[in-house]
Amino acid sequence: MGVLELIQSLEGHKGRVWNVCWHPSGETLASCGEDKSIRIWMHDKSKWVIKSILLEGHSRTIREVSWSPCGNYIASCSFDATVAIWDQKSGQFECNTTLEGHENEVKSISWSASGQLLATCSRDKSVWVWEVTDDDYECAAVINAHTQDVKKVRWHPEKDILASASYDDTVKIFKEDTSSSDFICVATLASHTSTVWSLSFDKTGNRLVTCSDDQTLKIWHQYEPGNEMGIPTPDNEPVWKCVCTLSGYHSRTVYDVDWCKLTGLIVTSCGDDVIRVFREEDDSDVHQPTFSLVCKLDNAHTQDVNCSQWNPVTPGLIASCSDDGTVKLWSYSD
């Protein structure tokens, strides 16, 4: 069994903390929450300290923050229906662009690997793709594919392929249709029996892990046309199959999941205040993989854990946040 060791608890947010995001360098962490602030934390000699507090970008709760792949921008989305883009051209972070268009609460935000596309999703059931050129943001697509609130958007680790998770219990995959340069839904992943709260690609982008209100995790495998398994691919589009369901581990809604690109470990954030880590077994068959729970930390937080994210540079380093108002840093070791 692995061990999760608390490195430090970061206090400062007032009210629940919704989301944390590591800077691509792994040296800085951004967090956001109900207090409408974004807090930026850095490691200073022996401990993590607050570096800056970003205020006045949003008028309601900030649901998610995301560092751009170049590390120069922070995008934040809020229940005030807007998206804010923060840059530090003046030396400190300032919000210089606000993206409007969603009808109501924006739930999630994600930069594509190239940094040239930004995706957002909302309670208005739509997924939007914004095209970024210099500091100009143009709406490239408004996709009305989901029938309910969309909870999460995440880009493929390399390609311009987008995945979204929704209250309609499905995950959808989108890619650009070259003739119209519009994004279209190319796959619907249906198997969860309740809201899909979050998802994460593995480092290849060929697999996805999703987590749900149905208290399960599901692993999905992408089968390309002409795959060796002979799985049919209608319209010459890759097909996503659910190849593994992890049930019986979580006792409440699983709010977030992150698949580590360095170690292949999966960390989950759950409404039962527990952080869990799963490892794929060594003899696992990719078409029928097996995962085992390698760490379960009870009372990691005193309330719902909203988000946990692996550090992109330091293996085993996790940041988590919770309704209890704290951000916590953990070190995982086997």
Binding site: E103, R123, A140
Partner: protein, 484 residues
């Protein structure tokens, strides 16, 4: 089922956890009787609710009905409007009206409604593709189909389209001049013929965008005025004695027909009583086990034309886009009337995506006019954001809520062979451009109607029949919504 509304109308402002049937937030007026206590409400086996008074009588409770007008006046969802539309402007309603008329006629009664059908070009092309007929054949077969059900008159809408183009172009020239004299909020003028776009602007952007939208009515509503207030006159009928049906490429047109602005409360009649779409015609035919080809051809009536006018062409198109060619006509008209450049051509270039195109009018290296065509919701967003940031360089924008425009309207028939919407629309566009063009300024029927119906081109009558207005809809915050 895919929605037949344009994408712009599919976004809602409602709560997360409420499904469409529950999501209406319109407060309901409750008629209060005398104060009663101790009543119980029972649900009967058939699902109806009855009120049981203490010790006795039961009364069946009435269901609260939300009308389409309620929906349009509300800042909430638009999806519940869909179910309302189904009852008020449905195929069933249409068939009922036809049947009533035929029954009354058979019984020798004279108080039946005269039924007029107006055909727009986009659904004709859609049906032509579906039934492998030429556009002209399709129009004649449609006329035969409607007349077999009891329609008295079947009209094509070229004259209304021509009026809409001319009036829009005149409005643009006036706005341009006013803008040069320092008047604010004149330019860019934004197209007014797409009800999906207009409805979205009213609900979401209110008084910021509305002043820019042209006040010229869409062809459908000009046709409505023409049929109810001129054709009726010619026939010696009152507007309410006519039932006017239009054939359109999208459901949004049903919303437009239902606007209070197009309702005559004195006569209790709408300019357009019922909007039917290509996809619904296909369904009606399928239900009867028929194809359009099974019907005899009947002529398209031309009640407004001079007797001696050449009558060889059946359908006409317009230069420019398949959405009616607004940018094209206004561009050429403005070049001629504002800059004395009679041979200007609108040459559109795609920007980041093929649904946002731009063209300029230049003279001696100077840009005189900058036009754009913005189709689909994403480009409406980009346009609105440009306007909000004061970065719109345009004088006129043809805005349509559907990607590709009206030929790809939400209620056009989907491809039979699995082709992408864009391929199908390209096919229809090709057919559209093969049609002989109408030149609105040279259309003798237009000139005749300006005189015989409207007294003159700029009369008050012309103003009122050709122009409309928009209404900001204030956002309601339902009390149940929780603010984090």
């Amino acid at each position: 089922m895919a929605s037949r509304f344009s994408g712009a109308l599919q976004l809602t402002t409602l709560d997360d956890f409420i499904t469409p049937s529950q999501e209406c937030i319109k407060p309901v007026e409750i008629k209060k009787n005398k104060v009663k206590t101790g009543t119980k409400i029972k649900i009967q086996d058939d699902g109806t609710y009855t009120e049981v008074l203490e010790g006795g009588p039961t009364t069946k409770l009435e269901k609260v009905e939300i009308t389409l007008a309620d929906c349009l006046a509300c800042s909430g969802c638009i999806t519940s409007a869909e179910s309302v539309l189904v009852t008020q402007q449905s195929q069933e309603e249409l068939l009922k009206v036809f049947k009533e008329k035929m029954d009354k006629q058979k019984a020798g009664e004279s108080n039946f409604k005269h039924i007029v059908v107006s055909l727009s070009i986009q659904p004709i092309l859609s049906l032509a593709e579906r039934y492998k007929l030429s556009p002209d054949e399709t129009a004649l077969k449609l006329s035969g189909y409607f007349k077999s059900m009891g329609a008295d008159v079947v009209l094509d809408m070229t004259v209304a389209e021509d009026f809409s183009l001319i009036e829009s172009a005149k409005e643009f020239v006036e706005r341009y001049k006013a803008s040069k004299e320092g008047s604010k909020n004149q330019l860019p003028m934004l197209a007014s013929s797409c009800p999906g776009w207009v409805c979205y602007a009213e609900k979401t952007h209110g008084n910021f965008i509305l002043p820019y939208i042209g006040v010229t009515k869409s062809p459908q509503q000009i046709m409505g005025s023409l049929v109810k207030y001129h054709f009726a006159d010619l026939k010696g009928l009152s507007p309410e004695q006519l039932y006017h049906i239009t054939l359109m490429p999208c459901y949004d047109k049903k919303l437009e027909a239902s606007r209070e602005d197009f309702y005559n409360s004195l006569k209790e009649t709408r300019d357009v009583d019922c909007v039917i779409t290509a996809i619904e015609i296909e369904q009606m035919l399928t239900q009867q086990g028929k194809e359009l080809n099974d019907f005899d051809e009947a002529e398209i009536d031309k009640p407004f034309q001079e007797q001696d006018q050449e009558n060889s062409t059946i359908l006409l198109g317009h230069k420019g886009s398949g959405s009616g060619g607004y940018a094209n006509f206004i561009f050429e008209y403005a070049a001629k009337n504002l800059f004395q450049l009679p041979n200007a051509k609108l040459e559109l270039k795609s920007l980041r995506n093929p649904d946002f195109q731009e063209a300029t009018l230049e003279k001696d290296g100077e840009i005189l006019l900058r036009f754009a065509v913005a189709n689909g919701f994403r480009n409406i967003q980009n346009l609105v954001q440009k306007l909000k940031r004061g970065k719109s360089p345009y004088d006129y924008v043809e805005v349509m809520a559907c990607p590709i425009g009206c030929l790809n309207g939400g209620a056009q028939i989907r491809s039979q062979d699995g082709a992408q919407p864009r391929e199908l629309a390209a096919k229809l566009e090709n057919e559209y451009h093969k049609l002989p063009h109408s030149d609105p300024e040279l259309n003798p029927t237009v000139q005749k109607l300006y005189k015989s119906w409207l007294d003159s081109e700029n009369s008050d009558k012309a103003q009122s029949f050709f122009h409309t207005q928009y209404h900001e809809i204030e956002k309601m915050n339902p009390s149940i919504s929780i603010k984090w």
